[in-house]
Amino acid sequence: MTPSSRTLARGPVWPLFVAVAFAAVALTALVLIENQKLLGAALAITAAFCFCAARFGGVAATEVAASENPWLLRGLITVASLAVIFVLRDDNFGLLMLATVLIYATICLGLTVQMGYAGLTNFAAAAFAGTGGYTAAMLGQQGGLPDALVLVCGGLVAVFIGSLLILPVLRTRGHYGALTTMAFGVMFNVFLDANDFFGGPQGLKLPGINLFGWDFTNDIHIFGLVLSSYVNYVILTGILTALAMIFVGLLDRSWVGVWFDVVRLDETAASVFGLKIAYWKVLAFTIGNFLAGLMGAVYAKMTGFIAPANFTFGDSLVMVSIVILGGIGNRWGVLPAALIVVLLPEKLQFIQEYRLIFYAVLVIAILTMRPDGLVARRVRKLRAEASA
């Protein structure tokens, strides 16, 4: 971006309204529609709209408007989210899926910090999420601890377990790093299967969340309306996702993000700069694992059941594929990608046993057509640089 373009008049605001409204409508439609023909039509319209927006500068206009009016954007997203929740208020399944999408998206935000920003490879995201989930289950059995603390503990234990891996993660790079985490992910699973203390292959049941006396398993009665109990989870996961989104965004725009870039792009140069690579790597690894553990605990509480089969190497791959499909290193990409990856297999139920092959072919098609993911990483644009 040339300096002169910064001094241009502010862009119009309306693209932002259109974009948020469209996203909300598309999301609701995708969650609600069960009829496959209608669903196909909705997907086609969404794709066409996105294509046209990209083709005729709508995306760029939205980006400009978003960066110029950050608070308006946040406000619009909040309003749109509430509207979506209102429309879906008694659709238990839709809300469950929505909360699941948000949980996956947040875990993948953590992965974005690890893989997209700091260039670490992590093929054990599901294992870290599982660590959080099992922490919640075990603490729940003891009782006594308030749930807010239990969830945070989920994140902290994931960080602790992750810290056992720090040495190998720091020492290895690229594919070797991939193996380290992959081995851990597989090991996590085999261990839980073999071990009876943590419920073995049959898993453990755990109660829903009770946050400060508010029981998440009850339906909400408000203004004469009955809202599904899952609204609780959607609101909680929505808030957590928003917080993670803001946090990761701040991280990316701050100097920490620049250090991450340096670590990722050229480790040799980074060490010449006298930068403590290990420090930044550990920081990124910790942030990612905390988010995974936290959301894993929420997930376990929400589904009320936890078993090794929920956190396999395959699930870690799903999370990595969300990050890649979304466009590695772009935090906004995880949202549409999580939506596609989590919701699509569910929506494809009608083709029954042909689901998996269809899904694989679809991902291959996306990768071939958009090698950089749905939303590509943007070149860093620092405020400092813009004002210079």
Binding site: P201, T303, A307, E353, R355, V361
Partner: protein
């Protein structure tokens, strides 16, 4: 790659035709439509069972709809739980929150069923499990919504242990997969075998996808048991039988419901499968009251996949649900209440009686042996007459 894309396209084509085919027989009459849901594993290694169950459930719906005097037109909603608890929770939440679906016929895998019974209870949706065998599904809690037509694995193991004791076997090795299924099988096998005063020389547990069993088999060969007890499903079971032969281990193989079916005999080959024993909670189709009707209708419907061992149970569960709806109307609470009273209800597998936990308690456990590439009821086999002999008989 050319072939793969073509196959992908073929899959797409088939995928788009399937729902049309299923939908076509539902628009015939102006009866009220009632939806019921079938849940089972349609992808993954044990999908043959899920697909066999689905076909059987579908057959039940088809036959019911063809009857002129029914009050409702039934539609089967089919969902894949991938044999994973979290996916099971998802799809069950989906059907349970869909008010137009009255009842469900869920699950082949026990861990999945254990995870979802709470949801059925929470959403007050009646269901009849068609295949999962762990006792905890019906007995862990007393949920009025939860019923099961298939047997639980305790019976298989009790009868199996008695059978082996009667033949004089004393030295056993247990070989089970590391899933909940294998572990439970091993637990009850161990309990009943030790009660009989027999000896278990060693217990092995391997992941169901482990291919090479040579390390375990070398150890087993050293232990030299009379019988190898297997607690697991067909793929691993066939692998075990094949590799036992390669190592020259001449022990008698004893299995359970998990290897019951033609797939085991095909994969191990008729020669190696010969003489393998299993104890399974169902008589053969030919012995069932409605077995002939079922197999003829199944054949006539033109399914390319076999119904597998639990197909008849999926049929019975679906039929039972539909009969109840005919009786009390499409209302979840009424269906739940009426299912609680099922006693000596005739079905193609024999009378169904639910106990206070919703468990079918009609004893159906039958002993089978492979003879000339077919599973034969023990009492009718040439092994009883002494014409053929089990291995390693003391």
């Amino acid at each position: 790659m050319g072939t793969i894309t073509k196959r992908g396209l073929a899959a797409l084509a088939v995928a788009s035709v399937l729902p049309l085919a299923f939908g076509s027989f539902s628009a015939a009459f102006a009866k009220d439509k009632v939806k019921i849901a079938f849940v089972g594993p349609l992808t993954g290694a044990i999908s043959p069972h899920g697909i066999g169950g689905r076909n059987s459930a579908e057959l039940a719906v088809k036959l019911m709809n063809a009857e002129p005097n029914t009050k409702y037109e039934y539609e089967l909603v089919v969902l894949d739980d991938e044999c994973k608890p979290n996916v099971g929770v998802q799809v069950v939440t989906k059907i349970a929150s869909d008010r137009s679906i009255i009842a469900a016929i869920p699950h082949y895998c026990s861990a999945t069923a254990i995870a979802t019974v709470d949801i059925f209870n929470r959403f007050k949706m009646p269901m009849v499990v068609w295949a999962a065998v762990l006792p905890e599904i019906t007995y862990a809690k007393k949920y009025p919504e939860v019923h099961r037509v298939s047997g639980i694995l305790i019976g298989q193991n009790r009868i199996g242990a008695q059978f082996m004791k009667a033949r004089g076997y004393k030295k056993f090795v247990s070989f089970a997969d590391s899933t909940d299924y294998g572990k439970s099988m091993n637990k009850y096998f161990t309990q009943f075998t030790l009660e009989n005063g027999s000896e278990i020389l060693g217990s092995f547990s391997v992941p169901p996808d482990q291919q090479d069993l040579s390390a375990e088999l070398t150890k087993i060969k050293e232990l030299n048991p009379e019988v190898i007890y297997f607690g697991g499903l067909t793929p691993l079971g066939a692998r075990l039988r094949t590799q036992m032969a390669k190592f020259g281990i001449n022990a008698q193989l004893e299995g359970n419901s998990g290897i019951m079916g033609d797939a085991f005999v095909n994969a191990a080959g008729p020669e190696l499968a010969e003489g393998t024993l299993t104890f399974f909670d169902s008589p053969p189709l030919s012995k069932m009251p409605g077995g002939k009707m079922f197999s003829d209708a199944y054949k006539a419907a033109g399914y390319s996949e076999p119904p597998e061992a639990y197909g008849p149970f999926a049929y019975v569960a679906t039929r039972l649900v539909m009969e109840t709806i005919e009786k009390v109307g499409p209302d979840r609470a009424k269906v739940t209440a009426d299912l609680g009273d099922v006693k000596d209800r005739p079905s193609i597998v024999g009378p169904v009686t639910f106990d206070d936990h919703g468990q079918n308690i009609t004893p159906l456990t039958t002993s089978y042996v492979v003879q000339d590439g077919k599973w034969v009821v023990w009492e009718e086999s040439e092994y009883v007459s002494g014409k053929r002999k089990l291995k390693n008989l003391p």
